[in-house]
Symmetry: C2
Subunit: 605 residues, 2 copies
């Protein structure tokens, strides 16, 4: 049943050989890895306008230079990550770059911060997407948590099915979104050039009282939330078809160009259409309704926009398992993140991400807006560290023509560092948690690593000297009577050792005497030792006895306890047997040198 359901949801298991077939083409990679970055044009411009409007509508023209600044930063980031891709062809996320150049601890800061960030991405994106739906259909508003959870479940299953299949499904909405935004840009541009725009744009270049550098920087940093998701490509290089680095670099640049055009165009359209942010309507919606009116094209744009917000969450589903795999390979996360599932994806990472983001949705009751600054800072910390790492690399290696890339990375580092600091200063009340969870995550990484190193040390063997040593063997068989089960167990024990003791625990003298007489009559060739239990416990006297045997013989012998266990024909039959054998097993398991053998006895009726 469970297997069938799993087959239906996930698909047939795949052989390890099939792994290469799961690699991504550029077109599919763009769909899988860019939805997070592209979707941010849906709110990037608005974030800037929201800060500027606090001074007044006249200040909105500042959105144009700020947008160009963001565009500049985007260019720097894209160029920088392009460099990273070639420098780290097997996958160069912030974790790898920082670890490689700045040491493990810094790498862990970047990795931990990204790991938490991907969980936030899924939670924030899926609840934002839900908001878009419930704004259009208010009746669903009370079911928002359920809708967001369903979305996460769907994404989890899609990703468990495998990368290619989910890419195929996800391609259409991503390209539809790109199509829709370009439709908007072309339509809006055409209207503007033909002079059909009757709105009043704020005067450009007029100094506005109340504007401070701090405010402009804040607006800039808010606009930078449009850049989250850019790092996904460089993390996921191993997912690309050969030659992976080149394909990844091309994909990254295509994504950067599309993102840049869409972002700056929407900022420009917002300006020329004189649009100010409203509480109940998004900027994109305002532009769309101004350009096309509230017709079929408007609803198409809105629908595709809300869909892409959901899909942004999918980027994290592609990136998180890979990062977890890398951390796990370096022994900072449990082994399980290295295991490929039936469909060759890192299933445990996918499931882990699904569960934790779902928990976040449940705990915050679907209201994840306050998490957005935390989410943004969680991206800019690794950005900064990655750039710093690249700077160090250029300085250390000094390849031919290293100065230009060094300058690019330095500019990028300074900018992202500034944005991080602005976030910390202007939105401390929303991002202070980073000072809690980042140390906690890094502490966990170190603890896990310590355990694996201790383990390796304890398990290490010298092939030339550490050989198995043969010892003697004592077998202890607890018996509750003389039955076929006991006979079966003794038969088995006799095939392994000549030193066998049967132990019987009785509650009174009469019982014990009867057992001894019966044993003598049976005479199975095995000594019987009887114990009297005054407190009616079977486990305690037995384990005391086994202690004694162990104490006497452990130097020369292995002590094995053989526990017969019924396998009943129906589950409820288990209720009819005192589960002494399970209790005994659990009790004895806490001792190193007692080996426990379960001798199953299958009941036929």
């Amino acid at each position: 049943m469970v297997t069938k359901l799993k087959r239906f949801l996930i698909g047939r298991p795949m052989k390890t050989d099939e792994l290469t077939e799961e690699k991504l083409s550029k077109l599919k990679a763009l769909a899988v890895l860019s939805s997070d970055a592209l979707s941010s044009v849906a709110y990037g411009t608005e974030q800037i306008l929201l800060v500027l409007i606090t001074v007044g509508a006249a200040a909105l023209w500042y959105s144009i230079p700020i947008s160009f600044a963001v565009l500049g930063l985007l260019t720097v980031l894209i160029l920088s990550y392009r460099q990273t891709i070639y420098a780290y062809p097997t996958g160069g996320g912030a974790y790898i770059v920082a670890k490689d150049n700045l040491g493990t601890s810094v790498g862990l800061v970047a990795g931990g911060s990204l790991l938490v960030d991907y969980i936030l991405t899924v939670a924030v994106s899926s609840s934002a997407g839900t908001d878009a739906i419930t704004s259009a259909f208010p009746t669903f508003h009370e079911h928002r948590v359920m809708i967001a959870l369903l979305m996460i479940l769907t994404l989890t299953i899609l990703n468990l099915r495998g990368i290619t299949e989910s890419a195929t499904i996800l391609m259409y909405p991503v390209y539809l979104f790109v199509f829709a935004v370009f439709l908007l840009i072309i339509g809006g541009g055409y209207q503007w050039m033909t002079g059909n725009v009757h709105a009043q744009a704020p005067a450009y270049g007029v100094a506005v009282p109340g504007i401070t550098l701090f405010l402009l920087l804040k607006a800039f940093s808010s606009g930078c939330s449009a850049l989250t998701g850019v790092e996904a490509v460089s993390n996921a290089i191993p997912n690309f078809r050969d030659s992976a680095p080149r394909n990844a670099a091309i994909t990254l640049i295509i994504m950067g160009v599309i993102l840049g055009i869409m972002f700056i165009s929407i900022s420009l359209l917002a300006y020329v259409y004189g649009i100010a942010p409203k509480a109940d309507e998004t900027v994109v919606s305002q532009i769309a309704s101004a350009v096309f009116g509230r017709g079929i094209i408007y609803y198409f744009i809105q629908a595709v926009t809300s869909l892409i917000l959901f899909l942004a969450a999918n980027t994290a589903f592609a990136a998180f398992p890979l990062l977890a795999f890398m951390l796990s390979k370096d022994r900072f996360l449990p082994n399980m993140f290295m295991v490929r599932g039936d469909r060759l994806g890192f299933s445990n990472g996918i499931i882990f991400l699904g569960i934790f983001s779902a928990l976040l949705i449940i705990v915050s009751e679907g209201d994840t807006e306050n998490l957005i600054p935390l989410y943004a800072i969680g991206v800019f910390v690794p950005f900064t560290l990655s750039q710093t790492g690249m700077m160090k690399r250029w300085i250390t290696k000094k390849p031919a023509g290293w100065l230009l890339p060094f300058v690019i990375n330095t500019v990028g580092m300074l900018t992202t560092l500034t944005i991080t600091l602005i976030f910390l200063i202007t939105k401390f009340s929303q991002v202070w948690m980073i000072f809690l969870f980042l140390p906690a995550v890094i502490f966990a990484f170190k603890k896990v690593n310590q355990h694996y190193r201790d383990l390796a040390e304890q398990l290490r063997i010298d092939l030339s000297t550490d050989k198995p040593e043969k010892k003697g063997s004592v077998i202890v068989i607890p018996v509750a009577g003389i039955t076929q089960v006991v006979r079966n167990t003794i038969s088995y024990a006799q095939s392994l050792s000549d030193d066998i003791v049967a132990v019987y625990v009785g509650f009174d003298e009469e019982e014990i005497k009867k057992m001894e007489e019966k044993w003598e009559e049976w005479n199975p060739g095995v000594r019987l030792i009887t114990l009297r239990s005054r407190y009616r416990s079977i486990v305690r006297p037995l384990s005391k006895f086994i202690d004694t045997v162990e104490w006497k013989t452990s130097a020369t012998d292995h002590v094995t306890v053989m526990i017969p266990q019924f396998i009943t024909k129906r589950w409820w039959h288990n209720l009819l047997h005192n589960q002494t054998s399970l209790l005994l097993r659990a009790y004895l398991f806490a001792r190193q040198d007692v080996k426990i053998t379960t001798v199953p006895y299958r009941l036929k009726k």
Copy 2:
């Protein structure tokens, strides 16, 4: 921690030798076993009046002859159970008597019906007691379920502590209740004889229109709810001090006399004080306030009355585990009901009763009034069967002077049968469930019995011919690499057998080749077999391999699979290891002939 809490709640464990000390004196037995019976005077008279008032206040005088009829039935029951006690000195509940004389199936009807009934007793009594409290303190009304559950928890713990201790605690309220009711009787009788009663009693002996035989019988059967609990003494004979039957018989008669006097006196007082049942005040409360006014004595009577209703539940806690023990001894219930706990009580029965009555309270949300007729019929079915059994016994054995006891039992049988039928006819909508659960319980009894008989047959051994047979032995050791764990496991295996195979599951050819070379270099004296897993599963290829080994050798050899298992130093370390060994163990456990040995390896760090 858990042990300490248990010690605190339950007390120190006791030796089996201390068992006799736990026997009850007559005085304590009366307290433990009679609270159910005695508490019913709190509502017995009222039940009769409630039926009569439907015709009119003039009909209330019929309560006097009906009460005498109930008294007569009580006498018959007491005499009958006195006979049973002597006939079955080791405990003669309805189950034993019916089984012994009328066959096992009839016995199971009686036993099953009582078993369910004890659960109902606890649920009904504790919620009735809660009602008494919340009537006095209406603020607690919304917490009724919680109060009832707390009461059940308290009773469960008291009973787990042991019979004597709970008896000591419970003695005071029971005797206080008896004292309070006699105070009421004497006070009321004195007032009446001194002519201080000014109430108008309905004229005695006047024919009332509308009175039918059916109605009178219904009133009679309602009054018979005062007789529930009478059987407790004869069930619990083994709990009495020696000589148990005599002590039990005396206790039974004392209880009968006290119950009879209290019941008939309250009926008489209710009549002479002209009391009619009210919705918001009990009959006993009306009498008490008429006799003493609403002073301290009135509140004392009310408090003690509500307390005794709680304690009625305790009767079931004394009776249920004993009956479960007897059914378990006869193999109709799981073994666990035969196990004596730390304090020598049948803990599992006590806990089972506590849990199921608590569930009943939760499901019915503390509103158990509708369960009362079901509860009453659940008592009268075994009454009838027990009487029938005794009749059969007299006829079969024909001891000297058997005619009188035979007549007593016959009268009793006919009366209880009639009451059962009246219940069925007049309250079918409330008691139809008995036709569901009684067959279900009996079906379960038979199923359990069948399993135990099948089991005994499969386990039976012929001491002279069925001896253990020595076979060969093959040991399979799954290895994941060459580590100290593997060395430790091979050392152990070599102490048991010379035929050992190590199995390695690799994911690709390279891995496998590396392992083979390393193994050759190590040369532990054990063959290595390598398997390639195309689907990255370790368990499946391993189990296929073990299948093959088993198929080849099972005729001549025992196959043992040795599974090394880490014992980590901290619980969370377990998260860092893929629990392949647990999976493998669970998977292999479903096969009869594979023995599974867990070789623990304790990590030191």
